[in-house]
């Protein structure tokens, strides 16, 4: 289906068009979200929310960019919002634990994330890298994940994040510097 037709049909709330969109974008959405939330169950949940958001706000899509760029933007926003709210929930959980309202603590807090697309010989190193990615500021995290796990070009990432290509280069440079520092700390104290 041609993109213009797909968008028009989506705006008409066509079920066929939405099914087509899901079939063609589910892997892209899931992979992007997974890189940020780093948990399969959460990634599925957030990916579903991304499609619901697309369905609800397709009428706001002006067509200034490609549909995929707009979808990537929603993925990044939803995934980062999810991570932020999860951190807040954890904070409240810790508070509740202190005042004795609950004694359940998050057992998955320091569990390493193993991306299914990483080769076996890189599995451990990639898990350590993903742990370091978690600590990056949101914009650096978004740029790094889009470029490294989705394999997007600097130009495409610039369009998604609505910044210049130079700014993306800057984000990637700072992200790599920060990751190097975190990894150095990790391997030195190990």
């Amino acid at each position: 289906m041609h993109e213009d037709l797909l968008i028009a049909e989506l705006k008409n709330k066509s079920n066929e068009a939405f099914d087509f969109l899901v079939r063609n974008y589910e892997n892209m959405v899931f992979n992007t979200v997974l890189g940020i939330v780093q948990n399969h169950t959460d990634a599925e949940d957030v990916s579903q929310d991304v499609f619901i958001k697309i369905f609800q706000s397709i009428h706001n899509f002006r067509g200034d960019s490609k549909l995929s760029t707009w979808v990537y933007r929603i993925c990044i926003t939803k995934a980062i919002d999810f991570v932020r709210s999860k951190k807040t929930r954890k904070g409240f959980g810790f508070f509740k634990e202190i005042i004795g309202l609950t004694n359940t603590h998050e057992p998955t807090a320091d569990v390493l994330f193993y991306h299914p697309g990483v080769s076996l010989d890189n599995k451990e190193s990639a898990a350590i890298l993903f742990k370091a990615i978690k600590q990056l500021p949101n914009n650096q995290k978004a740029a790094f994940v889009l470029i490294k796990t989705e394999g997007l070009s600097y130009n495409t990432v610039a369009q998604i994040l609505e910044i210049s290509e130079k700014a993306v280069e800057g984000l990637m440079h700072r992200a790599k510097e920060n990751l190097r520092k975190t990894l150095e700390e990790f391997y030195t104290n190990k």
């Binding site: 589910e26 959405v29 992979n31 599925e44 190193s125 490294k148 394999g151 030195t188």
Partner: protein, 105 residues
């Protein structure tokens, strides 16, 4: 290059040959079910009140209204008492039959 540097480099380049993750099986049917559930049970979303600044403003307005009403009520009571103290005494006297006495003093 020492051991730590080697490991750092290895970690930094570990995603270079990564393959994209696939969406889990039955993603589409589960999405459909969630959508139907979410859209059918759509309730008014008070998203504005979920923003801390608006929630705080709303609370302050509520407190201001409560204080205003409380002051209004207090003023109204005071006004009645102050405006007509003689009437209150008269009422009291009538209630307890103190207006007249049988001994005429």
């Amino acid at each position: 290059m020492n051991e730590v540097d080697k490991k750092i480099e290895q970690a930094l380049y570990s995603l270079d040959s990564i393959l994209p993750a696939q969406a889990p099986a039955f993603f589409a049917p589960r999405l459909k079910a969630k959508m139907e559930n979410k859209l059918d049970n759509a309730q008014p979303n008070f998203w504005l009140l979920k923003q801390p600044i608006y929630a705080l403003a709303f609370t302050l307005i509520l407190i201001a209204c409560s204080v205003y009403l409380l002051l209004q009520q207090t003023n109204a009571k005071t006004t009645v008492e102050v405006r007509n103290p003689a009437a209150t005494i008269q009422d009291f006297a009538t209630e307890y039959n103190l207006n007249t006495n049988s001994f005429n003093y």
